[in-house]
Symmetry: C2
DNA sequence: CTGAAAGCGCTTACAG
DNA sequence: CTGAAAGCGCTTACAG
């Protein structure tokens, strides 16, 4: 493969001149530029980014570390990140942690070796140790989706507390008093924020909180299925409404309710955090919808501002609003049941 | 940041010895290794992959170029690729083409600059030019999902023709004779294969083909929605069954049918290529299901075999079977309508 | 089992 | 506007 030297030789210039043409920096006379471009064309020259990165300390690559790309929420976040990044000529390496701390740490180290220009990271616990590790090496980092304790870092997340509060309030106003909360893993900050919104809504409406109605599973549809069955089969008196902690839990819940012969909303009302993916089929679920594309986009732009050196790594925090989408999955509780 | 020289100095050895410890190759005496490891620990040394790649000509990175990660089919393919790759210590850079040839070519060039070790590529047209461009530079490449004409290359795709044939045959056996085919962009090889299966099924059952029932849109839910409305509102006599060219078209179709007040399967039968994502809600759709995770996994393993040099770049072709999932979205045609 | 030297292909930092 | 020299941080290819 042709190198910058081959091109320089063919064009009768020094390698640095070729570099100037390729990177479009500095002054190059028009005819010189033309000769260099012709040589590039003839030799099918493609610059070697490893060499460029070694010298310039830039890889033009970001790392995006999420829990699981298979969840449409993260898929859309990813798309937002990619679109924002490719705008600025940056590529994105994608990593899935499956909510495992060990995987997260492993990927961070691999990406540090790769000298990537910045991290977009979805933390698992609220412990800032991983972010500190990155910051110690002076690599830009932005935290996504989940706030962290005791660390100064740019971060973007959604109004989980407020969104949940709105959903629960809506159910209460329909007349529900026994609302089950199907939450995910308790360590994750978004779980905690959503539970806080749930509790506040109950409290403000003078409803006592029944701890048996607060159930922790995982943010997966299999778990949503199990937890819903367990909830509907064993809790007495049965809840009249279900809050699903995320979209995948809702998917599992709908399937479980179907298998149990319970109709939505006639037999039970259902709301969910996150809009359901591709909800073409019935019933349309009432949801607190985040803006995942926006989340990814904004986080990427914060990171790019750091990387390009325009803005120093800081302590900016963006909280995105959550939209209440009232659809057909809720009704007043059936007093006969 | 500490370099290999700093570590070598602290451990009292040569840089090459540190290299041997880090990469775990060649012979190193146990006590030497221990001293080096202590120095690495103390200096928090992380190897620089740009330097490594420049010398070794390996980046341990693959490029995956798909149409749109937002489609759950591609999401799952991606997960299969990532899992297979991380097994072998390889990272994956993800690129979305949105079915635009210009984006594809641009990404290929960026990835060539990055010196990635291999390409997994979903071609847009059947034209092999992009693949030839990659092969000319001696970079391993595997083609995914869509066969290419006139080129020797490893490739993995699903039995699109056979899967469609099975679905159409199933509808015909239920008594349908007017089956609309909602296809995607005609340039894409999978569209062509699915249409071939449709035609073969009609032909083998002595049904004449009505060209007005073969409609081309895009592989997107917005397009599926439009095309379904158009199909149900303007074609006479109205089809009694709908074949959706992929999962997203099916999502749009269900929504359109709902808006038109048509019930599935009472008023119209629906089948789809690709399983619907998260089909928790009613009605469960009868589908020809590909194995997207398997598709990604197998393609990645083919590529890794090339990259690791164990198997030469070849002309291997893997065609994955498609599973017919009969569910509740079909019934005999309503002769009254 | 260990190391000295060279070089991968660029860009930086000057100099003119 | 152009270029000579040095060096980024590793690994290759020897040598002993």
């Amino acid at each position: 493969m042709a190198t910058i030297h081959d091109v320089a030789k063919l064009a009768g210039v020094a390698p640095i001149t070729v570099s100037r043409v390729v990177n479009n920096v500095g002054y190059v006379r028009e005819d010189t530029r033309a000769r260099v471009e012709a040589a590039i064309q003839e030799l099918q020259y493609i610059p070697n980014n490893s060499a460029r990165s070694l010298r310039s300390k830039k890889t033009n690559t970001l790392a995006l570390i999420v829990s699981d790309i298979t969840n449409p929420f993260w898929t859309t976040v990813t798309r937002g990140v990619e679109d924002a990044s490719s705008d600025d000529g940056l590529s994105v390496i994608l990593c899935n942690t499956d909510e495992k701390q060990a995987k997260l740490e492993n990927y961070v180290n691999i990406m540090l070796q790769k000298q990537i220009d910045g991290f977009l990271i979805v933390p698992i616990s609220s412990n800032p140790q991983v972010v500190r590790h990155i910051q110690r090496r002076k690599v830009p980092v932005v935290v996504l989706d989940r706030p962290l304790h005791d660390v100064e870092v740019d971060a973007v997340w959604s109004d989980n507390e407020g969104g949940t509060y709105q959903l629960i309030k809506y159910l209460i106003q329909l007349g529900h008093t026994r609302i089950a909360m199907l939450s995910g893993i308790s360590e994750i900050a978004t779980s905690q924020q959503r539970i806080a919104g749930y509790k506040r809504a109950l409290h403000e409406h003078n409803l006592t909180q029944d701890d048996s109605l607060l159930i922790h599973g995982e943010f997966k549809h299999e778990s949503g299925y199990q937890v819903t069955r367990q909830c509907m089969e064993s809790i007495q008196p049965r809840p009249t409404a279900l809050f699903c902690g995320n979209n995948l839990i809702a998917v599992g819940a709908f399937k479980a309710l179907y298998d149990l012969g319970l109709r939505v909303p006639e037999d039970i009302s259902v709301v969910t955090f996150d809009d359901m993916p591709f909800t073409a089929t019935q019933p349309f679920v009432t949801a607190a919808a985040q803006s995942p594309y926006e989340l990814g986009w904004q986080a990427a732009k914060l990171l790019i501002a750091q990387v390009s050196g325009k803005e120093p790594s800081g302590n900016r925090q963006i909280v995105l609003p959550v939209e209440l989408l009232i659809r057909e999955s809720c009704t007043a509780p059936n007093t006969l049941s």
